[in-house]
Assembly symmetry: C2
Homo-oligomer: 96 residues x 2
């Protein structure tokens, strides 16, 4: 009975993992698009002011259970990975 | 014209950030529930086999643009934060 309950919760967790995966990758695609627009404008890809604004907005909307510091840390990792994605694209564009 | 395009992409990014925030917190709540069930069963909270299975499943569904290694790293951070959430709950339960 309790194992059934655990299995059910784990199934829900598996679905959530894949939803998060999907959104993180969608975010990656969007950041790639932004990188392309920035390249055509000659704008710098890393924008600390914009990153701070995003983190502030995320904080404002954080209702837990994760603490602000944890959420900030996770999103900073996501931002860092996204920036690397843009930089890879830029390098590839330079090589063409 | 191009700035409008950039603003629009940024609005989409802001929405995506909040969707990701929402799902990460939902995942946190679910992991807390799982922790409670495990506590009543006396089962260990950290389960490396289950974690490996989740990572494998996430890999199988990863269609990019993020590379497998990046996605694994991001999810390991999410798992770590979730486990800390369970441990906090457990400590609080012990203190009651």
């Amino acid at each position: 009975m309790s194992n059934e309950q655990l299995d059910q919760l784990r199934d829900e967790l598996d679905s959530l993992n894949l939803e998060i995966l999907d959104l993180i990758n969608k975010r990656g695609e969007l950041v790639q698009e932004i990188g392309k627009v920035k390249n055509t404008q000659g704008v710098n890809r890393f924008d600390p002011v914009r990153e701070r604004k995003m983190l502030d907005q995320i904080n404002e909307h954080n209702n837990g259970p994760f603490e602000e510091s944890t959420i900030q840390q996770l999103f900073k990792e996501i931002f860092k990975a996204s920036l690397e994605l843009q930089e890879d694209d830029h390098r590839k564009a330079l090589l063409v």
